[in-house]
């Protein structure tokens, strides 16, 4: 079997783990838009990194993407202190897109790189990308397992959690940061635009059919993984972008499930 395909298959498992954890926690936190905000903020970081590279300053995209996404997370968490978290995300989203467009337009010869970060490609990942996704997935897994009940408590009942002595703002920021790390780790594989559907659609579907939290994490993982595997298989046969196909499948599964529930 093609080495690239094997690597893509393993990366799909890692991204599905991120989807199950970060996507589900995002849906629990009622902040689905956060994934879009994080990924577009990360794109601004990538754009700055690509610009610096084009003028001879060798920097790594991941650090810039992560920094931008966590900064947006910080703004969002601060905004949520005074009301709706989505307002903060929307402002961070607009700001980062403006930064991304300005820096991409100033960057020469790197437009194709910017394209990969926009739409992703599961089959074009380097060994370094593979290592980064593996490390960040481990960080997300370990941190979430450590603080899982706190994340659940602040999502379910922030007032109660605060009264019971949980530092809600601190753990909200940590939760949003974990989601941001997850999103950034999947950025090059599925792209800033499509990461939203890969992360949210499987978890939203799982919320429709899962009876408890464990089932929702499991169903979300399976839908994300199967969407990416089917996407890869179709992509291999017909030379179509795998990330886009995976996003398409995950979104269709969600709409079918939601429609069946309504009827």
């Amino acid at each position: 079997m093609d080495e690239l395909l094997i690597k893509a298959a393993i990366v799909s498992i890692l991204i599905a783990i991120n989807t199950a954890i970060a996507g589900t926690l995002t849906v629990f936190r009622r902040a689905s838009f956060l994934v879009a905000g994080s990924s577009h903020s990360a794109l601004a970081g990538v754009a700055v990194a690509l610009f610096l590279k084009s003028i001879g300053i060798d920097v790594h995209y991941f650090a810039f993407a992560l920094l931008a996404a966590v900064f947006a997370a910080f703004l969002s968490a601060k905004a949520s202190k005074h009301g709706d978290i989505n307002t903060g995300i929307a402002v961070a989203f607009a700001l980062s897109m403006a930064v991304a467009v300005v820096f991409i337009s100033m960057t020469r010869n790197y437009t194709s790189n910017a394209w990969q970060f926009l739409f992703g490609d599961l089959l074009l990942l380097t060994d370094e990308d593979f290592a980064l996704i593996s490390i960040s997935t481990s960080v997300v897994l370990i941190t979430t397992s450590f603080f899982y009940h706190k994340f659940l408590f602040i999502s379910f009942d922030p007032d109660g959690a605060e009264a019971f002595g949980i530092n809600v703002h601190l753990y909200d920021f940590l939760l949003i940061s974990i989601i941001s790390i997850s999103v950034v780790s999947a950025l090059k594989a599925v792209g800033a635009i499509l990461v939203f559907s890969i992360f949210i659609a499987p978890s939203a579907t799982a919320m429709e059919i899962g009876k408890n939290t464990r089932a929702i994490f499991g169903i979300s993982f399976i839908i994300a993984l199967l969407s990416m595997y089917f996407g890869l298989a179709i992509s291999y046969q017909y030379s179509l972008p795998a990330g886009a196909l995976a996003a398409l499948i995950a979104s269709i599964v969600y709409f079918i499930t939601a429609a069946r529930k309504i009827s």
């Binding site: 999502s155 379910f156 922030p158 007032d159 109660g160 019971f164 002595g165 009876k211």
Partner: protein, 252 residues
């Protein structure tokens, strides 16, 4: 022993919300804090919980400064928040909801303990059900069980009867009365006192200031009601001799 003491407490957000509050609550007392919408009831709850710092004065809870020494008494207060603030769409079971406060602090909770508090509120048979599938009254009883799981000295309940059916109201009142008879202090913040009026030891009538405090019959006078609500409210004496204010929903 005094479980809660407020000394000259004032608090402001943009404008003054609470002014010169002075009162004490004894161990084992059943207290209702009552007032119209915007009276500062929820702010008072947050001050007692140590989540807000008094602008003036001080609050002692179980002998500790509520704001500076919150960590010393936080595990000794059971809190029931307003149910409207809870995200009941989360797929948590009743058992998970009851366990969450202790689990999130890294403490283990046995099934027997969960069953015990759930049976106190008559919800032990629903232990495996999804919280979101329960009625408003059942949800409130589960949240009361959650407040009890850490075996607190003080119970603080913010509007526990909102959207709650009569049988659940009666069950909640029965549990609270039972707890006070065992020496627990119960502080209940309500806009409608009638479900609990026969059981409380004392009422604190609040509208930014303490308008009156004492036995329900001493507090519910025409003069105090006008001071608190800004208008007259019919007062009716029931067969047992309690004065009931017959207001519409003042809570907005």
């Amino acid at each position: 022993m005094k479980t809660v003491i407020l000394h000259d407490v004032s608090f402001s957000y943009d404008k003054k919300v609470l002014e010169d509050l002075n009162f004490e609550i004894d161990r084992g007392e059943f207290i209702a804090i009552l007032g119209p919408n915007g009276a500062g009831k929820t702010t008072l709850v947050k001050l007692i919980l140590g989540l807000l710092k008094p602008e003036k004065g001080w609050i002692k809870v179980l002998g500790y400064n509520s704001f500076k020494e919150r960590h010393k008494f936080v595990d000794l207060i059971g809190y029931l928040p307003q149910r409207e603030e809870i995200v009941s769409e989360l797929p948590l079971t009743v058992s998970q909801v009851v366990k969450l406060p202790l689990l999130s602090k890294g403490k283990r909770v046995g099934e027997e303990k969960v069953l015990k508090v759930l049976s106190m509120v008559g919800m032990d048979e629903e232990i495996a059900k999804r919280f979101g599938e329960l009625s408003g009254g059942q949800q409130q009883r589960v949240l009361l069980a959650r407040a009890l799981v850490g075996d607190p000295e003080i119970l603080l309940l913010d509007e526990p009867f909102n959207g709650v059916d009569i049988p659940s109201q009666e069950k909640i009142v029965e549990v609270l009365s039972d707890l006070t008879s065992k020496g627990k202090t119960v502080i209940i913040v309500v806009h409608n006192i009638n479900p609990v009026l026969h059981e409380v030891d004392r009422v604190i009538l609040l509208n930014r200031k303490v308008i009156a405090t004492g036995k329900p019959n001493d507090v519910f006078t025409e003069e105090n009601v006008i001071k608190a609500y800004g208008s007259s409210i019919p007062l009716v004496i029931c067969e047992e001799g309690y004065t009931h204010p017959l207001y519409g929903d003042q809570h907005g």
